[in-house]
Subunit: 414 residues, 2 copies
């Protein structure tokens, strides 16, 4: 099965938004060993959409479309699909009932546009969208499948995971394939490659290794192809057992787990609680930790000390320390941890202060200078990072480092 | 002139990287009134590249390619272009001299791959790339232009700004196009559509309106086409003047500005500071606020009171209030604001407590029940949201609501 991803939307063609939907979909498909032959974007005009579908099908068995299914007037996608197949739009009372029920639950009223939205190409199979008003649409004609989904990311993601992917795998049976994913943090792709060079050279031809780096983390994905599922699963398990000891210090998890969830599990297993004090990351670390459902079991809270006043009054940082060493200094983050643990009596405290940029750097402390400290009532450990000039990237990369810092602390590796 | 952007690269097709190059290029072209007809990505294989060029030229006068010109993947793209035109690759001593000189300056040695890199399709005009080894390549055959650039973002950006764009504007007389973007928050797209239905129905055929919804915010984009730039710009300005009064309460900005930046500007203009107290959003609101460069001018800090202990000990919420009304209640968020402003003496305090999900709901307070309060030393205003079941979406949507809450408070609309 070859898939083409087709995005509909002028907002992509004028560069107003970046097409993150297509990369999310490509990643999901790739993880399921489905080949993406191409990705394209066309404008939300009738002729362009039809042309886009035709072109996409030239080299693919499946076309996955996103965008152009909302309840407003710029919605031409359904009409284009209907005309592509030469069918009429018919009213789906099933969809209308569902929208009415959703709005009733929310205590809000539907508009005429919601009724309009319920006209669907006659030949569609509707895919239930639990997170929005527009259902997904599945078309299966002449041996080829077209799927249309709303462009709202979480609605598309829901439909892809719960409806489209299972149906595709059922519709296009494929030869056995298996994956194992090992999640690492703390080293770049080339350093890991060096450490496992021999392992990689000795892989049999039916097992491939991929490096998937993302902001301080690298996922290692082993993929095996073969005739029998059980044989390739066993071969993969054996390879994982060979690989793990080579990079054990870097591995935070297996499979799809995020670093923040892995750290959360580690804390919960050891019955430890944590609190945070953030300056330059401005709450991003707290957000990462609390994005994990159930994090209230180990996360107590944070003081975001964006201003020096808050550092002094809440975290008990001495004005003399700020004056002598500056807010971005080893002394300050150490005092922040100590002050934090007085305020919020968690088992572990972590503090961050740095210059996220783009402004605020000096020759001595350029943009990207970040201090972190971690500790408990007995001891505090601190470290300096020297990152780049991009504000958001500095914030995110620092949070990844902080989470790894917590992991290493709990494991007694600091 | 219609342009097609063609990205070359397996790393995009497997979802390893997001195609930010194409959105950057689309934005630059759009700002210069050049219409992007389509965007597509193909794999870095000879046949796929040739096919991609052919398809792209079906509906465009110009194809801008990125990727596949580094010293490793080099051969495939250039060979494909040469074969597309039916010409040979010839050695460019001009390019080789330049690479030698660059490496001499860096004190590094070239490899054989750098020499290989200097073979170019015979019919190319080279575009000087001051930031890297691979030059851009310009082809002009049969009335259509193909440009190939390296995929490294800053090299592509340099070439686009200094070489490609000026040459394109000289080569093709452009057809005028103009945009206006109005940013709104507080109503969904269908509600807005109702409010401006008459305006929309009366738009002339050369002006299009698009709704671009994103998590509680809706961008309205007016696009005009015509023969004269000044005429369509004036027509658009007139339409904006008609549109604004219809939805003035919802508009937080014009153009590319984000809600968090707009709220920041509003606070800064009025010389107001703000502090936050977050429970269920776990730092996401603070992160949104501090993602804006320069936010330290108005943002003081936050207490993330994830546990009840922090609510009691830091924010001075009375244990009796928690016991009687629960952590997710109007009484609690009101006490959180009062306590926050005692701790951090900002002009405005905002507090959030809710059940983000997926667990923790009760029949009385289901997942998605969120209380917000905003206030100063004199008065506190509170409101309840009833959101859905998706944790991350609840967190993000609540933050958008909180920012809108701040905006309305400052504007005296609460």
């Amino acid at each position: 099965m070859k898939v083409h991803i087709l995005s509909i939307g002028d907002e992509i063609l004028i560069g107003q938004i970046t097409n993150t939907n297509s990369s999310w979909m490509a990643r999901l498909l790739n993880n399921n060993a489905i080949r993406v032959q191409g990705i394209s974007t066309v404008s939300d005009q009738h002729e362009e959409i039809i042309e886009g579908i035709k072109t996409a099908f030239l080299k693919s068995d499946v076309v996955l479309m996103t965008g152009g299914l909302g309840p407003t007037k710029d919605d031409v996608t359904k009409k284009a699909i209907a005309d592509y197949y030469g069918v009429e739009l018919v009213f789906s009372s099933e969809t209308y009932e569902r929208i009415l029920k959703m709005f009733e639950q929310w205590g809000r009223k539907t508009t005429n546009a919601h009724r309009e939205q319920c006209y669907m190409p006659q030949n569609t199979v509707l895919l239930l969208n639990k997170l929005g008003t527009a259902p997904g649409m599945w078309f299966d004609e002449a041996g080829k499948v077209l799927v249309a989904m709303p462009g709202v990311p979480y609605e598309m993601e829901y439909l892809m995971e719960h409806q489209v992917l299972p149906k595709l795998l059922e519709r296009f049976p494929r030869s056995p394939i298996a994956h194992r994913t090992i999640q690492t943090v703390g080293e770049g792709e080339s350093r890991i490659a060096e450490r496992i060079a021999q392992f990689e050279d000795n892989l049999p031809p039916n097992i491939k290794l991929a490096y998937l780096p993302n902001m301080g983390r690298v996922r290692l994905r082993l993929t095996a192809f073969g005739d029998h599922q059980t044989t390739i699963e066993a071969a993969l398990d054996e390879k994982v057992q060979e690989l793990v000891p080579l990079i054990e210090d870097l591995i935070f998890g297996h499979g799809d787990i995020s670093l923040e969830a892995a750290v959360g599990q580690l804390l919960q297993t050891r019955n430890l609680t944590i609190a945070t004090a953030e300056s330059c990351t401005g709450g991003y670390l707290a957000h990462q930790i609390t994005a994990v459902a159930g994090s209230s079991a180990y996360y107590m809270g944070s003081v975001i000390a964006y201003s020096n006043d808050v550092k002094i009054n809440q975290l008990n940082v001495r004005p003399a320390t700020l004056k002598e060493h500056g807010a971005v200094s080893e002394a300050t983050v150490r005092e922040m941890v100590a002050g934090l643990l007085q305020l919020i009596p968690a088992d572990i405290g972590i503090a961050i202060s740095g210059i996220a940029g783009p402004d605020g750097g000096t020759p001595e402390k350029p943009v990207g200078t970040i201090w972190l400290a971690i500790g408990n009532q007995e001891q505090i450990y601190s470290i300096k990072l020297q990152l780049g000039k991009d504000r958001l990237r500095n914030i995110q990369f620092t949070s990844v480092n902080a989470l790894n810092f917590v992991r290493q602390w709990v494991l007694g590796r600091l």
